[in-house]
Amino acid sequence: MPSTNHEPIKAVPLRHPIRWAVALFLVAISAAFVVDASHRGAYDWKAFAQYIFDPRVVKAAGVTLALTALSMFFAIILGVSFAVMRRSPNPVFRAVSWLFIWAFRGTPVYVQLVFWGLLSTIYHSFFIGIPDIHFHNFYLGFHQTISQQFSLFWIAVIGLSLNEAAYMAEIVRAGLLSVDSGQEEAATAIGMSWWTTMRYVVIPQAMRIIIPPTGNEIVSMLKTTSLVTAVPLVTDLYARTRDISTETYNPIPLLLVASAWYLFFTTVLMIIQYFVEKRFARGHSALIAMAS
C-alpha cells in the first residue's frame, strides 16, 4: 500500500562546475565579439540596414528561393523515379538509374553547372555534324525568343536538379530499403501491382526515413544555388550582393546581408521540416509509445 503522507526526497543536487565555467567563458567571448562588431567600422551596420531590404536584394533572394524550390522539386521527382527504377523488375531501368547516379554523383556540381552553361555551344557543333538539323533550328529559335537571363535561370535549374536527383535517389533508395520486405510481399499477395505496392505501401513508409535527410538536402541546395554563377547566372542572392558590393567597395555588410537572408530561409525550412516529420510519423509514434 502506498502511504499517503510520503516525504519528497530532499537531497543536495549534483553540481556541474565545469559546465558553468565553459558556458560563462563562451558567453563572455560572444558578448565581447558582438560588442566589438557593433562598433567596428568594417561591419558597417548602417550599410547592412540600408541593403537588407534593398529591392535588388529582395528580388535576388526571390531568385535564390525559386532556384531552390524548382531544383528540389525536379530533383525529388527524378530522385524518386531513379530510386524506384533501381528496384524495378526491368533490368534496363536498373541500369539507366545506376548510370545516372554514377555520373551525377561522381562529378562536382560546379563542373556540371559550367557544363550545362556551355551546352548550347556543344549542341551547336554536335547538330551541325548530322544531317537532320530541325532540332538545331528549333533550339536557336528558342534562344532568340527567350531572354538570355531567363534561359540561364532554367539551365541553372536543370543543372542543380540533375545533380541533386542523384543524391535524392540514394536517399530514397535507403528509405525504400528500410521498409520490411514482408510489406511488399503482403501487398503483392492481395493482388496489388508492383506500382500500386510502391505507391500505397512502400513509399509512404519510406517517407519517414526519407524526410529528415531531404530537409538537409533542401537547406544544402539553398546554399548550393550560390554556385550558379558558374552557368553563369548572376541574378541569385550571392551574385547580386557581390555585384552590389563591387559598386560600393564595401563587401562585408553585403556578405552579412546575404547571410541574413540565407539564415532566414533555412530557419523557415527547419520549422516546416518539424511539422512534416510529425505528419509522417503516423502509426509509428504509436509504436514508440507502446514500447516505452
Binding site: Q183, E185, A186, A189, A286
Partner: protein, 253 residues
C-alpha cells in the same frame, strides 16, 4: 468436381538449393489441409509457389482449374503478364507468420486498401464491407487503431480480414500463430475454425497439432522437399507409418 488445388510434381530451386523435389497433392473444395514438417523442409516455399510469389522450375499448379503463373496454348506455356498474375493472386488469400500489416494504415484501412486499390470498389462501399469483416474476426471495436496499438492476436485477425476482403477462393496460412504469445493463439485459431466451418478451402502450415486434429480434413507431412506422408490427421498423428514422421511428431507432440 475438380479439386481446388492440384500440384503435380512441383520442383523449386534457389540456385543450387533444390528445395521442393516433386510435390504432388490435391486439395478439394472446402477442404482444410494442414502442412507440417521440420524447419527448412520447404513448407513456406510451397505456399509461396501456390500464389506465384515464387516461380516454380517444373511441374504445374492449378487453383480452381486455372494454371498458376502461365497461360497454356497449343501445348506451350506463356508467362502471365504482371497484371494477370496479380489478378490471380488476389483470389488467393495469404496470412503470414509476422502478420505484415501495413503499419501506416489503421485496421480499417488495412482491410479496405485492397478492395479500393486492386478491385476498384469505391471507398465508402469498401468501408462498409471492411467493417463487417472486422466484426466477423471480433474487432468491431478496433477499426481506427494502428497495428502498433493492437496485440499480436488482434493484428493477425486484421490480417485475416484483409485477405478475406479480396473474396478469395483459397486461403494460405503460413504459421499464423507462431509469432504469438501462447495466450493469444486461441483467438486466431478460433477465427480460422469459423472460417473452415464456413466452407473456405484452406492450406495451413502450422505446429498446432491440436488444430490439425480438430479442424483439418487432411494432414501432409513434408520433409526435405517431398511429401513423406499424407492422410487423415487422426491416423497420421496416432499411427504414423514413416520413420521420419514418427521422429518429427515425437518432437512436436
Amino acid at each position: 468436381m475438380t479439386p481446388m488445388v492440384i500440384a503435380e510434381e512441383v520442383h523449386k530451386s534457389f540456385g543450387s538449393n533444390h528445395v521442393l523435389r516433386g510435390i504432388s497433392l490435391e486439395v478439394a473444395h472446402g477442404e482444410v489441409m494442414c502442412l507440417v514438417g521440420p524447419s527448412g523442409s520447404g513448407k513456406s516455399t510451397f505456399l509461396r509457389c501456390i500464389n506465384h510469389l515464387e516461380k516454380i522450375n517444373s511441374g504445374r499448379i492449378t487453383v480452381d482449374g486455372t494454371l498458376i503463373g502461365y497461360r497454356e496454348h497449343a501445348g506451350k506455356l506463356y508467362e502471365l503478364k504482371a497484371r494477370e498474375a496479380a489478378t490471380q493472386r488476389s483470389g488467393i488469400g495469404m496470412v503470414f507468420q509476422k502478420f505484415n500489416l501495413f503499419p501506416h494504415m489503421t485496421a480499417l484501412e488495412n482491410v479496405t486498401v485492397g478492395m479500393v486499390r486492386v478491385q476498384g470498389i469505391n471507398t465508402s462501399d469498401a468501408q462498409v464491407e471492411s467493417k463487417k469483416l472486422l466484426a466477423r474476426v471480433g474487432l468491431a471495436e478496433k477499426l481506427y487503431h494502428y497495428p502498433a496499438h493492437l496485440s499480436g492476436g488482434q493484428q493477425q485477425r486484421v490480417a485475416i480480414a484483409r485477405s478475406l476482403a479480396m473474396k478469395p477462393q483459397l486461403m494460405l496460412f503460413d504459421e499464423p500463430t507462431s509469432a504469438l504469445d501462447p495466450e493469444l493463439v486461441g483467438e486466431v485459431l478460433d477465427v480460422m475454425k469459423e472460417l473452415a466451418a464456413s466452407g473456405m478451402t484452406m492450406i495451413v502450415v502450422t505446429h498446432e497439432m491440436g488444430f490439425a486434429r480438430e479442424v483439418a480434413d487432411s494432414l501432409v507431412f513434408m520433409d526435405g522437399g517431398v511429401v513423406v506422408e499424407a492422410g487423415k490427421p487422426v491416423e497420421i498423428l496416432s499411427n504414423p507409418t514413416q520413420e521420419r514422421t514418427k521422429s518429427f511428431l515425437s518432437k512436436v507432440l
